[in-house]
């Protein structure tokens, strides 16, 4: 009975972990593209702001950021609930790492392609959206996959700002049952399974993207 009971509680926590991981990964991806493009294509001021954002976010520990958002931000008048705090902290964090991936991808496009686009009088926006981004997004996929798993692991820290995720539930159960070995083994397995599923999904998306790239729009069969 205890096994079933423990698993039920841990599964509920795992659901919260999954929701937080998915939302923060998607938001992080949006931040990554905005900041990454701003870093490469932005003017001197915008590119410098993007650089500062990336360097600052990558230079500070996630836990410090979460605690800052949770304990310090209310003192200057901005009070967010724990769930929002967790999502914001995780997204800002992983978005900065993703922005570096986007920057690397965009800078890997050969200059001749950009010169050719310019010679054809394509606008910068058109060049970005139809020439450079589509081919680099596929090359970014493995790195994004790693970051998604990294972000999933990072979600464990939101338990420390009182979100009832898998880690939080594990701590609760341990405090009641004192059976540390069993609870934490189950928890580790829970994260491991979620990470494997996430990796598989990312590889599937990459596969899909590669198939799509072989048949440009209008030529799909």
């Amino acid at each position: 009975m205890t096994w079933v009971h423990d698993l039920a509680i841990l599964t509920r926590g795992a659901g919260i972990t999954a929701i937080i991981a998915v939302i923060s990964t998607l938001l992080g991806a949006a931040i990554a593209f905005i900041v990454g493009v701003a870093r490469v294509e932005g003017g001197p001021v915008v590119a410098r702001i993007a650089l500062f954002y990336i360097e600052f976010m990558r230079g500070t520990p996630l836990l410090v950021k979460l605690f800052w958002l949770y304990y310090a931000l209310p003192l200057i008048g901005v009070s967010l609930d724990p769930f929002t705090t967790g999502i914001v902290g995780l997204s800002l964090n992983i978005g900065a790492y993703g922005a570096e991936v986007v920057r690397g991808g965009l800078q890997s496009v050969p200059d001749v392609q950009i010169e050719a686009a310019r010679a054809l009088n394509f606008s910068r926006r058109y060049t970005l959206l139809h020439i450079t981004l589509p081919q680099t997004v596929i090359e970014m996929m493995p790195a994004f996959g790693n970051l998604a798993v990294q972000n999933l692991k990072d979600t464990a820290l939101v338990s420390l700002i009182s979100i009832a995720d898998l880690t939080f539930r594990a701590q609760q159960l341990r405090n009641i049952t004192l059976d540390s070995a069993r609870i934490y083994t189950l928890t580790l397995l829970g994260y491991f399974v979620m990470a494997l599923v996430l990796s598989a999904v990312m590889r599937f998306l990459e596969h899909k993207a590669r198939r799509g790239a072989a048949f440009p729009r209008g030529m799909q069969q």
Binding site: F56, G59, T60, V64, Y71, L75, L160, S180, Y191
Partner: protein, 230 residues
């Protein structure tokens, strides 16, 4: 009052200056944990990568599975596991040492990948030549493979060292008195978290930047041909 330093809450600046020495004490603990953890990660990662290259299938496969498992699970849970489960089996370690073990364990999974890439980059002919010269596997690794690998893997290892430094605040969860833990304790006593937490948030980027500069300097010093181990 903490470590003999009193808080001066008359103004934000005075408050920040008065708690800076306390955070400095925490910073030393943070740096110690990062250095000790990284040394452990370097050794354990090397062990994983050598086991993965074992000729015995079960050993190489088992090592690969363990590394994958460590890499895909959060540091925080590994830390809790070591902190709460080891004492149940009679292994009672101070929190700091448990934290160092957890950091080293997590990062050994990353460093083992770096070693693997480094070993794979050694040309096949060198292995064949060494085997033809009847060198033992131990001597091949010690005198030929690892010396050449060191300068190649140094940049990647340096990045992991910096990223480990940024993970040390997690140790505050198991009562290690690192910089973040002291900042929180100061906040608990003064009801003012903004200044201590902001200071920690500023000190870390400074530290990581300094570390990056130091590591780049180290990379330049390392001879490109390799580092002899004897």
């Amino acid at each position: 009052m903490m470590y003999g330093f009193t808080y001066d809450t008359s103004s934000r600046l005075a408050y920040a200056l008065s708690i800076l020495p306390i955070l400095g004490i925490g910073l030393i603990v943070t740096l110690e944990a990062a250095v000790a953890g990284f040394v452990f990660a370097l050794v354990l990662g090397l062990a994983w990568s050598l086991l993965r290259r074992s000729r015995i299938r079960a050993v190489s496969w088992g090592a690969a599975c363990i590394v994958e498992f460590i890499r895909d699970t959060p540091l925080l849970i590994q830390l809790f596991f070591l902190y709460y489960v080891l004492p149940d089996y009679g292994v009672i370690l101070p929190a700091f040492l448990t934290g160092v073990l957890a950091l080293g364990l997590q990062y050994s999974a990353y460093t083992s990948e770096v070693y693997r890439g480094g070993f794979d980059a050694v040309p096949r002919e060198q292995w064949e030549a060494a085997t033809a010269l009847n060198l033992s596997r131990f001597r091949i690794y010690r005198d030929i493979v690892i010396p050449q690998t060191i300068p190649r893997i140094a940049p990647a290892m340096g990045n992991y060292a910096v990223s480990m430094l940024k993970e040390t605040p997690v140790l505050s969860v198991v009562t290690v008195l690192d910089m973040l833990n002291l900042a929180n304790m100061i906040g608990d006593r003064t009801f003012e978290y903004l200044v201590p937490l902001s200071l920690v948030g500023l000190i870390f980027p400074i530290m990581t930047t300094l570390c990056s500069v130091g590591i780049h300097a180290l990379e330049r010093i390392l001879p490109k041909a390799g580092v002899a181990l004897r």
